[in-house]
Symmetry: C2
Subunit: 302 residues, 2 copies
């Protein structure tokens, strides 16, 4: 089993996780969560999004949150940006990275961002150009790369097409997401191979949801391909809006537990990460949605 | 990724799962569960144990359950047997297979079965001989092969020793169990390699707990070694007595979902399996402890 020696995890909890809470979480809580994540050793945190608060009120405090973070050297702070208006607002808060988000499924693109895939690329082009002109790194997230709640299975050729289009407009890194968690290892590898036709292995990351319990095994399948960058969400924050009561993002704790056991360096202190997950879970008055966190918290309790 | 084309799952829910319920489950419910599992396509079911009801009152109805099952041709019904007294009782109920259970950890052996590893092997020897004399297949379960709640990490050499001892007394198949779910892929592979020094690949199975969320990724690591037999538990029945509130046996539904996605034949109808898991979960007044089952039940509900 040949695996990368190092893995970089991007914790998307503050954004992708807390965006799914009905009640917006106060800025001070988000800021404290970001501080706890960087103290735990996370090297990149997806902090917030600059989508209109009309659509996503949960992220309406984006500028306040970005301004409130005591930035730690060596940590990257990324934000989601949907359009030029979002970019302008985002630039003022000085992110290290912006994320544009498209889909491999036409139906999902229409429902999620109200435009076709082609239109989304047109919309992203000036955003990417504007960000790169300021020296800001641009990541492109491609959702529904394995399956779509409206279209079902998604062919790898669809992923390849979106990767190609993103490459053409200057997106520097792509995140291949199994948004509804239906993927299994071979299907995920096929989606990744499609992305790798246009991006180098160092410029591709995986983003898995644990809806069907497959997130770690899909992560492992990517590790075996040499992919070493993944999104995850502390305490498994973020439900699945397409399957009520189901698990959302894979928990950072579960990924770190696995990688530690494999001897792969993440730079993350699992105990401190558990603390961060417990902090936000306590605030949300629920248990962490992470099996490793649950087991380790039980162990702490004796 | 080279994988076996076929996988055999042994559902241990009726025994390993329901044994962990505080309130004994009525025999008729167990029988119905077994019927639903065989209808779903399971080819082996661990039905009950012939341990003294003084120790395990939950299995006190062992003979009644075994007698109540309408056996389906091609399905194997296995039972746990701790000693000669248990074997005599078990033989009367005509199992296809008996399971003796030892441990790779001395401390766990003492706490779980009140004797040393060496003593357990001595105790099993006449049981194995007695069963084989009647043409009954004998499986040996080795618990705590990766980690032990009392001793911590377990060296693969300890697994190898117990495998060797079991081989010497005529045990035909060994199940390598990560009883407390602490294993990760490389550690599990090391335990399996140790077992494979004394048993052929067709005579070894994996038994994983999902306490730390690692069961599927450990299953995958075994599949990549060519191992094709695994225990699992419908609806994830069975908690973890060493970590309160934590997940126990890997859910059969999660394993089957993964294998279907990989194109590996299990002979199991996932929809019928979900029904079986829902039946017993409803009886126990809880949700199935399976992410795939949760997602698919949500999907059914629309």
């Amino acid at each position: 089993m040949k695996l990368p020696t190092k893995v970089k995890l991007v914790d998307v909890g503050p954004r992708d996780g807390l965006q799914n809470e009905k009640e917006p979480v106060p800025a001070e809580v988000k800021i404290r969560l970001v501080h706890m994540l960087q103290d735990a050793g996370l090297k990149e945190i997806e902090v917030t999004s600059f989508v209109s608060p009309k659509w996503v009120p949960q992220m309406g405090d984006n500028a306040e949150v970005m301004a409130g973070i005591h930035r730690k050297p060596g940590v990257r702070y990324s934000v989601l940006v949907p359009n030029m208006k979002g970019l302008e607002a985002a630039l003022a808060s000085k992110p290290d990275e912006i994320v544009v988000f498209g889909a491999a499924s036409e139906a999902f693109s229409q429902k999620n961002i109200n435009c076709s895939i082609a239109e989304s690329i047109e919309r992203f082009a000036p955003v990417v150009e504007g960000a790169r002109a300021k020296g800001i790194y641009v990541r492109g997230a491609i959702s529904t790369t394995v399956g779509c709640p409206y279209e079902g299975d998604i062919a790898p050729s669809r992923v390849e097409l979106v990767a190609k289009l993103m490459k053409e407009i200057g997106v520097q890194h792509i995140g291949v997401a199994d948004t509804i968690g239906v993927g299994t290892p071979k299907k995920v590898q096929a989606a990744m191979e499609a992305a790798l036709k246009h991006y180098a292995i160092d410029d591709v990351s995986g983003h898995f949801h644990d809806t069907y319990g497959q997130a770690l095994v899909n992560t492992m399948a990517c590790l075996e391909m040499g992919i070493w960058q993944f999104d995850s969400s502390v305490a498994g924050l973020g439900g699945c809006p397409y399957a009520k009561g189901a698990t959302g993002n894979v928990a950072t704790e579960d990924v770190v537990y696995m990688l530690q056991g494999l001897g792969v360096d993440t730079g993350i202190d699992l105990d401190k990460l558990i603390d961060a997950g417990k902090y936000i879970s306590d605030f949300l008055q629920r248990k962490p949605n992470s099996r490793a966190a649950t087991a380790l918290l039980n162990k702490r309790a004796g």
